[in-house]
Amino acid sequence: MSWTREALERAEAIIARYPQRRSALMPLLYIAMREDGYLTEDGMRQVAELTGLTPMQVDSVASFYGMFKVVPQGRYLISVCTSISCMLLGADAVMSSAEGEAGVPAGETDAEGIVTIEHVECIGACGGAPAVQVNYELVEGMTQESVVEMVRWLRETKPDVVRADELQEHFGGTRSFDPGVLEAQGAVGPYPAFDPYGTTGGGS
């Protein structure tokens, strides 16, 4: 298959941390997403081989969870929370503004393949509602205007690494709580930036 040697080594290291091989399935799906940009059929076949399952067993698990994307995403996945707390503070308007600026309805990617907009359910940032994630990096206290600015900035600047605190500073508003120290790490694609799965943007 087409995974890099580094990805396969990482996969084996992850498998070794679990008493049963099958438990590594979800982390391996994230590695597959990093390898190909999204979860491809080949990616699922590779994961099946590594875990001793059939590809359909892998697909059955992958399709259960919303974060394993089986179609290519834009470089920046903008997840707009529209659950109750965010809705109460104007998330629906934030969503339509984001759709308007990107030029696509939620669930789709813009023509240039840069930005995908999606509805998500509660992302645990209710104190900073309305809240949004860019490649799962959190930006709280968005408004209709700030989300438009952010989408525009992302499309123009196309940063390699998406850093939550940076976006928060430029486009965000109230946070749920004091973050303490600010972070340099961020996301490099539309999958959670968690280093053991090899998906961070470096730094600390």
Partner: protein
Amino acid sequence: MSAYPQVLTKRMLEHPSDSNTISVYEETGGYGSARTALDMTRDELVEMVKSSGLIGRGGAGFSAGMKWSFLAPGRPSYLVVNADESEPGTFKDRQLLERDPHQMIEGIIITSVANEVHEAFIYIRGEYPKPARRVQRALAEAYEKSYLGKRIFGTDYDLDVTVHLGGGAYICGEETALINSLEGRRGEPRLKPPYFPAAKGLYMMPTIVNNVETVSNLPFIIEHGADAYKALGDEADTGTFLFSVSGHVAKPGNYELPRGITWRELIFDVAGGIRNGNGLKTWIPGGASAPWFVPSEHLDDPITREACGKAGSMLGSGAVIVMDDTTCVVRAAERVVRFFSHESCGQCTPCREGTTWEEQVLRRIEMGAGREVDADLLLDIADNISPGLVWPPKMTTICPLGPSSVSPITSITKYFKDEVMQHIHGGGCPFE
């Protein structure tokens, strides 16, 4: 700082910039309790936690010590920390994970020792990569000092802790669904009986599943004792409780409070009252699954498990969602029901089909296409998911997610029927 006693948030409030580092953690007395616990027996630890009255902070509110005592004899046993925080309105675990991960880690060590666990997992929802990074960094620091790994703290006890990211499914917060997910399966809840985790959990072995906040309380309890912990609250609701307050309040955020203060105090003092000078219309006391409260009946109730239960709701995960008088409650209810419909795992008929149907009817009502019969139809659909529409809810379902979807429906029917009928008769939303 806070007028109320602090256990969980003390360090992060006093050390805003580096409360998550091991150096600050140890400076402030951290990892002493872990050492103490390693010298205690399982029975001693279980007894202490039981008598502290510590109850689970994930929403179910079950006695932590009693849960530990149910652990079946088979070995190996496992610990899984539930950091899948996905109940709408809840964001307290995120703060604990980001700002004081060592507190949780020490709690993990204590829980593991008490339950003869040598492999523990922290299941963090996939949408929390930053908390996961913070936790991973803290784990690395602990491993570095041999507080984790082989022969921890110089004893012959081994303990490994692995972070496992979820994939975006609220139902994985249910303990058996979480276990299934950790096994690499679809996050579907298991039947209880027989799959009580303490008997047949992870890989069918005895497993303790505890919430982040629950284990984070353990260092204090071990250090100061059960009585000191009890004294922070009262006999029935011991210790402190993290409330996530959101919605139309001036100061949303996480607040560590003892139980016993009133809702009025919480909403108007602690959370700064309603924004923009608006009036309080209704609030959800314990996360999206909880039935709603109204000012006319509940504002001066004390926030205790008993009072909440008697009033037909629950403290749940401590998420308080406040709605002012600009809110269309039908729209709010529809949004909550939609959440449950999206998050249903799909295994059982009443939840899979019923929550969808509820959402469809509510949406029609909200958009102005409701029919006269729809108000009663909605209740009957709800009744077929949660017979009798009683509290605590009965279920025709495998797990409580289905019955949770019923809460907003019974709430708006009970307290805001006129608004519902206005939508139906008026052919639209009166708030538009």
